[in-house]
């Protein structure tokens, strides 16, 4: 989230698209009801199904799964055509004025530089013209035909309301009604919040879906303001913490990136990471990268990381591929190239696509270790459960070790919520049986592995033997010790740069925040963006002061928010070029003539002059980006791409299947179906009664939603002879499953390209462990292809067929 949950109460308009906040985030959704009750805010829901969020909306429109880009580009087109643009914001706070290289263009659904043989773009033309002064050229009048604004206008021109209807199935009149509602928020004192989740991410162009809405929000001036923003609703209480802490194969902590094998030394690695400003006077905060990186390396390897050895840069693994994401790992596993798999707090057999392939892959492991508080399907993948897990245990040789761990209510630590708040929590109960803390389990594994390296050597023992492990009890690092390490401290005395001769930090002292980090080895910090969470003031994450002097839901002293306790990112953009708030009633910060002051921690140098320094300090432009340059693999603008399995061809290029640069493993091609065989669009989702695959172990939750079902329209039911509460078979090339049919008015056939499109809704939450009735998950049916940039699987759009079926024999 750019903003916070509590801030949603400040909005004028909520759009829930690519998510289902009331069902999947019911507690957070209360802030929508607050905005509706106290600000007369309106709620728009755009979803293939009329959800429980739609039930409390002011306006609902349907959309075909996987067509959000066309919808959003159409919306941008409408805003431009109808002058619903926050012009001062667009001119000054976006890269609208930047001039793009002449070679860049778009044709037949593709941008310049596409090579079908490599399924990749040469992105060199997707960039600014750089002038002789080394800065990007701009045209503040936005009239240059090669400026981003003019290119955007041309790019979205094809997405007329009629084209939007043709592709997405959203009737043009409904689309236009929503456009009118959204257009009102281009006024400087009106705003809209976008709440989205996996409805946008789980597509092969998921990142571009989100970019589409971000661009719309920028054009309306709704980023960096109270009640606005791009608000990703995270699907686990700590999934924000997962990415922040770098639990991705291509990330270190705090979004520092893992080196690639081409970056053989530290200087090479750093050469592409410290971005010089692209415009005069801009902050380009990543110029501090080396301070965060060196402090991270010192946290990892302590004295073994020195300037002389490139801060132990050679200890870091180097990626030979862009990403060892889960899809790639299971592909490798299925090829027999993985021996041992650790599965911690994770149930991939139900969570990732094409379950048959997952089962096959797990069967080829020598050893599977699961670490989980619950009995997961993954841990029991080898066990026969009739049609719900129809395997032959005798033929599976994989050894499985199940290590019982504690759950969140049984341990101490912090969870990072969607709004970037690190909230400390304490155990409510003692763990049952032999359940152990994850940190204890990992310490035991590490200590034993280290001992083996000590005794036996090995090809490269140094990163293991020298790993910094300075805990009072090496068997059991405490949450306090880990949090303080993440915050960072001085390793030797640090002098004060603003007061020569004075000492800023004594050796051993916790740093105040990342502004005190150094790249000379005198500081260490486990995760720079979390620096400040446990500083000289103590454990800021444990703060529970819910006073709110602003009355605007800022809650500055409730827990701690990264970065530096800032509650709303880009908040400088809430003020005009003189530093006056666009909306005085929702003042975040303002310029008092000498510095920025206000209700939130300014997202800009406190003395940076408003007319000089742009609000988007992480970008070398100082602005946000309507044009993403070469930073995304599938285009600098979002362009409509069909799902890999779709009921219709891409209207711009009938030959183009799915996202043209998404990675497709050869072994999955044969499993892709077409609409001739599988005419209906499947989509997956959560239900409010359950949380993932956990709560089917709980009797009360199981009673509230006991049994797997699929949802279809009354029209499709009539066509197929399916009755409400009757059984159906749903199948495609990857699986055939049985379910109870929920026949509903809440799903309606859509008309796309002149033809009816029926949607089959397939909820998750069921499996073959737990107390709920045994059932399937949508992942039996979903496609094993991920987003072109981040490899999130396309679980929200796939093709199926459906027919009435017999009830399974119990």
């Amino acid at each position: 989230m750019t903003n916070s949950w509590t801030d949603i109460k400040n909005t004028d308009l909520v759009i829930v698209m690519g998510g289902n906040a009331a069902e999947a985030h019911p507690c957070g959704f209360k802030w929508v009801t607050e905005a509706k009750a106290h600000r007369a805010a309106k709620l728009i829901v755009v979803d293939p199904r009329f959800t429980r969020t739609a039930a409390v909306s002011d306006y609902y429109a349907p959309i075909r799964p996987g067509t959000d880009i066309a919808w959003l580009m159409g919306m941008i087109r409408w805003m431009i055509e109808n002058d619903k643009v926050h012009w001062e914001y667009v001119r000054n706070f976006t890269n609208a004025a930047f001039i793009v290289k002449d070679e860049f263009g778009w044709q037949d659904g593709l941008f310049t530089g596409y090579d079908p043989a490599t399924r990749d773009y040469d992105r060199s033309s997707w960039d600014y013209v750089i002038g002789e002064d080394g800065f990007a050229e701009t045209d503040p009048t936005l009239e240059n035909p090669r400026c981003v604004w003019q290119l955007l206008k041309a790019h979205v021109d094809v997405y007329t309301p009629e084209m939007v209807e043709r592709i997405t199935g959203t009737p043009a009149d409904q689309f236009l009604h929503i456009a009118e509602m959204i257009g009102e928020t281009s006024a400087p004192d009106k705003t809209m919040t976008s709440m989205y989740a996996l409805g946008w991410t789980q597509h092969t162009k998921g990142s571009q879906n989100i970019r589409g809405m971000a661009m719309l929000q920028l054009i309306l001036g709704n980023i960096g303001v109270m009640g606005g923003g791009m608000n990703a609703l995270r699907g686990h209480s700590n999934i924000q913490g997962l990415t922040d802490m770098g639990l991705m194969s291509n990330l270190l902590t705090g979004y520092l990136s893992m080196p690639t094998e081409a970056e053989t030394d530290y200087a090479t690695y750093m050469s592409t990471r410290e971005f010089k400003p692209l415009r005069p006077n801009q902050t380009s905060y990543w110029q501090n990268y080396s301070k965060f990186m060196v402090s991270f390396m010192k946290a990892m390897w302590g004295d073994a990381a020195q300037a002389e050895n490139d801060w132990a840069y050679h200890y870091l693994p180097k990626l030979d591929v862009p990403n060892y994401d889960v899809l790639r790992m299971f592909e490798l596993m299925n090829q027999g190239q993985v021996n041992l798999y650790f599965c911690q707090g994770f149930n991939p057999l139900m969570a990732f696509p094409n379950r048959a392939k997952l089962t096959s892959a797990l069967s080829k492991l020598k050893l599977l270790v699961t670490i989980d508080p619950l009995e997961t399907e993954t841990a029991r993948f080898w066990e026969n459960h009739g049609e719900y897990n129809d395997v032959d245990p005798a033929s599976i040789q994989t050894e499985v070790l199940q290590l019982p761990s504690t759950c969140f209510a049984e341990d101490e630590g912090s969870l990072t919520n969607s709004g970037r708040w690190l909230q400390w929590h304490w155990p409510g109960v003692s763990p049952p049986g032999d359940a152990k803390l994850d940190t204890w389990i990992m310490s035991q594994i590490f200590l034993r592995v280290r001992e083996l390296y000590r005794q036996e050597g090995g090809s490269f023992p140094d990163p293991i033997l020298n790993l910094s492990w300075e805990y009072e009890d090496e068997n059991d690092p405490t949450p306090q010790e880990l949090a303080m390490e993440i915050n960072g401290r001085a390793l030797s005395a640090v002098s004060d740069p603003n007061n020569p001769g004075a000492t800023l930090l004594e050796a051993g002292q916790q740093v105040k925040n990342f502004t005190e980090l150094k790249d000379d080895g005198s500081t260490m910090c486990g995760c720079w963006i979390y620096s400040g969470c446990w500083n000289v003031d103590g454990n800021n994450m444990a703060r529970r002061d819910n006073s709110d002097p602003s009355g605007l839901g800022v809650y500055q002293n409730w827990t701690w928010s990264w970065p530096v306790n800032r509650r709303i990112l880009y908040n400088r953009a809430s003020c005009d070029l003189e530093g006056r708030p666009y909306d005085a009633d929702r003042m975040l910060i303002e310029w008092d003539g000498e510095r920025w002051v206000g209700n939130d921690v300014p997202d800009i140098g406190v003395t940076s002059r408003p007319e000089e320094v742009g609000p988007f300090i992480m970008n070398p432009e100082g602005t946000s980006r309507l044009f993403a340059r070469g930073m995304m693999r599938d285009g600098p603008f979002p362009t409509h791409m069909e799902p890999f399995e779709s009921p219709m061809a891409n209207v711009f290029n009938a030959e183009m299947r799915g996202n043209p640069v998404a990675r497709v493993f050869e072994s999955d091609v044969a499993d892709l179906g077409t609409s001739e065989e599988f005419p209906y669009v499947g989509t997956s989702y959560r239900l409010t009664e359950h949380f993932h695959f956990w709560t089917k172990h709980n009797k009360v939750n199981a009673a509230l939603q006991p049994q797997f079902f699929v949802e279809i329209s009354e029209e499709l039911a009539a066509e197929k002879g399916i009755t409400k509460g009757g059984w159906v078979r749903v199948w495609n090339k990857r699986a055939s499953i049985r379910a109870v049919a929920v026949v509903t008015k809440r799903i309606k056939p859509l008309i796309c390209d002149g033809k009816p499109v029926h949607v089959v809704g397939v909820p998750l939450h069921w499996g073959f462990t737990g107390v709920a009735k045994k059932g399937y998950g949508p992942n039996s049916l979903t496609v094993f292809i991920g987003d072109a940039n981040i490899e999130t699987p396309e679980s929200k759009a796939f093709l199926v067929n459906i027919e009435p079926a017999e009830e399974p024999v119990a």
């Binding site: 069902e23 019911p26 009750a37 429980r52 969020t53 039930a55 409390v56 409010t688 009664e689 079902f709």
Partner: protein
């Protein structure tokens, strides 16, 4: 000595950690089933109410979950019957239920998914209590809560037919009838009902009936501003008003909400049962004692047979005469 718990005015506050004396005592009982000459209550409490604002309800069933957890009931893990309503009906293990109905509004052309939390309405004029022949098995407190006292329940099921909302349910194993208590045990120690505490959108709120009515009016205004011209409050006067009441988007069509009765009244059978009802009730002074013993020994469902009833009538006519007529006013 611990302090008496204050009457709760909201469900969102956290419990006091100090020991508190419950604020609901026998002195607050204003009506009791089959109990002639009930002393006037000496503890007069402000009327409470739970307001269910259907326009804010997201159907998350947190209320059902909280209800089962607080009351330690065990709703059955059933099947999907093709709807989102689970379990399929209220039961002795599920005192409240989200009922889902899909309605295409002919005026707007819009689909509406009307989700109503069903459960005891806590009528000001409770048909269950009137119908109940077991002395003191159903009581009404001066704050409006209608509570079942299962120790005194004979399992006859009359309250079920007496209820104009079809709420009470017989336990097939314990042979007593149960329903929502409005969390009288929580209210007694200053807390609001568990469902209201758990409701994430505050679609369920709790407080004094006056406060809830004022809040409901602001909600109706909000709905009217959003085009729901017939939005209104459902507080049916046919049962004297209720201590659980609704804000409806379409107050002119309550039946849209999974057959919420448009004008609920206590069944004429119950109302007209003045002689017999009282007769059975009073006879049950004796019967209940026997019934309780038999019940605990045999554990069979308790029903009042025709013979029992006529016997009871005779007993009453013979022994009590006109005195019993007083209970008709209840």
């Amino acid at each position: 000595m611990s302090t008496p718990a204050p009457a709760p005015t909201t469900a969102v506050s956290n419990p006091s950690v100090d020991p508190l004396t419950p604020n609901l005592s026998d002195a607050a009982i204003m009506r009791a089933s089959a109990t002639p000459n009930l002393p006037e209550p000496t503890q007069q409490m402000e009327k409470v109410a739970k307001l269910i604002d259907i326009s804010k309800c997201i159907g998350c069933k947190a209320c059902q979950s909280a209800c089962a957890e607080w009351n330690e009931t065990s709703p059955e893990i059933g099947i999907c019957d093709g709807t989102y309503t689970n379990p399929p009906d209220l039961s002795s293990e599920m005192y409240t239920l989200m009922k889902f109905s899909e309605w295409e509004n002919p005026d707007s052309g819009n689909l509406e998914w009307l989700i109503r939390k069903d459960g005891c309405m806590h009528c000001e004029d409770p048909g269950c209590l009137k119908a109940c022949p077991a002395p003191g098995a159903i009581v009404q407190y001066t704050n409006g809560i209608v509570d079942f006292v299962s120790d005194k329940c004979i399992g006859c099921g009359y309250c079920i037919s007496g209820c104009p909302f079809d709420i009470p349910r017989m336990s097939p194993t314990r042979n007593v009838v149960s329903k929502c208590t409005l969390c009288s045990d929580r209210v007694a120690v200053g807390q609001g009902p568990a469902c209201a505490k758990a409701c994430p959108t505050q679609a369920i709120v709790f407080g004094t009936k006056d406060d809830m009515m004022a809040h409901a009016e602001t909600r109706v205004d909000d709905l009217k501003s959003r085009g729901y011209d017939r939005a209104g409050i459902y507080d049916p006067q046919g049962v004297g008003g209720t201590h659980v009441f609704y804000v409806l988007q379409h107050a002119d069509k309550p039946e849209l909400y999974s057959d919420l009765p448009a004008d609920p009244k206590i069944s004429e059978v119950v109302e007209g049962w003045k002689g017999p009802a009282k007769a059975v009730g009073l006879a049950a002074i004796g019967l209940a004692a026997v019934g309780t013993v038999l019940h605990s020994i045999f554990g069979k469902p308790n029903t009042v047979s025709a013979e029992d009833q006529s016997e009871a009538e005779e007993l009453v006519d013979a022994e009590l005469g006109a005195e019993g007529q007083q209970r008709e006013e209840v």
